[in-house]
Symmetry: C2
Subunit: 145 residues, 2 copies
DNA sequence: TCTTAGATTGTAATATTTATAAATAGTGTA
DNA sequence: TACACTATTTATAAATATTACAATCTAAGA
């Protein structure tokens, strides 16, 4: 499953003329397998043992490359650092305001909203983002004590 | 119109026991009248002539206070710095990816999405955010040349 | 294998935001 | 109005995230 995703991602890099370096391979692999939404620093720390000489700049550079190619989405929430999400299907995120946990959830794309906005504002709409905030069940339980 | 908003905002501060300082007055006034979505630095620069001694920390402190009271919303987009929006009615933003312009647009709240997410994830949902990205008519025109 | 454009590294620089302590000033009360 | 109390402001330093840059290295095609 995830191997297919990785292969597709690498193919997509090759198609765009982006070189496949061991670092890029590892970053992509980590993003796909982590099932989470790591920060650049998370990725850097996770790959430290494998690549003791890797620079933080490499992580940032490659995340930008991946974003430009469309393999990765950059998420900016309230907290200080950006998070990165490997793009699979269109899904949304539910974020716990207490512990920061992020849960994916599928939902049919809100195309009507985009159309409506395009009409009202005259924009050439390309995409939208939506997140839902609240407390996860564990945190909600703790708070009620 | 905006004077009413300002008065209501100041009353709301008084009710919460938050002191009304000249700096707070000016920051609120600026947020209400600017009709834009300034960064902390924008506000700082705009009030520099009026308050030559004001510290950047004051701007940040007060924006946090306003956010906690619910007068102001903090918006984090892709770019480096957070933007602040005086809360009036529930509205969404359409953001131009080329020039950065932000246009408000009204839309009935997406309550169904919140309910759906609550059911699927077990979260205690409090709110959501949504933005639409694209190119504004001017930028779209320029690009087609 | 050789070449070369692109990638990585290491470091410095920039930018944003927060922390801290001393000085100042708003607000209720007498 | 004057006083006292405490929140707020200021100035500065520190923390954190991200980008810029130049030198070195390497992936990939010829």
């Amino acid at each position: 499953m995830s191997e297919v995703q990785l292969k597709e991602a690498l193919d997509s890099l090759k198609d765009t003329g982006v070189r496949i370096t061991p670092q890029r391979h590892a970053i992509l692999e980590y993003l796909i397998n982590s099932m989470s939404h790591p920060t650049a620093d998370d990725i850097y720390k996770a790959l430290e043992s494998k690549f003791p000489n890797m620079s933080v700049a490499t992580v940032y550079n490659n995340l930008r490359v991946f974003r430009e190619v469309g393999l990765v989405k950059e998420l900016t929430y309230g907290d200080s650092s950006a998070r990165f999400d490997f793009v699979t299907t269109n899904h949304y995120h539910v974020i716990c305001q207490t512990c920061g946990k992020i849960v994916d959830f599928d939902y049919p794309a809100l195309d009507e909203v985009e159309h409506f906005a395009a009409q009202v504002t005259g924009f050439n709409v390309s995409h939208h983002r939506m997140e839902i905030y609240g407390d996860c069940s564990e945190c909600a339980k703790k708070e009620s004590h």
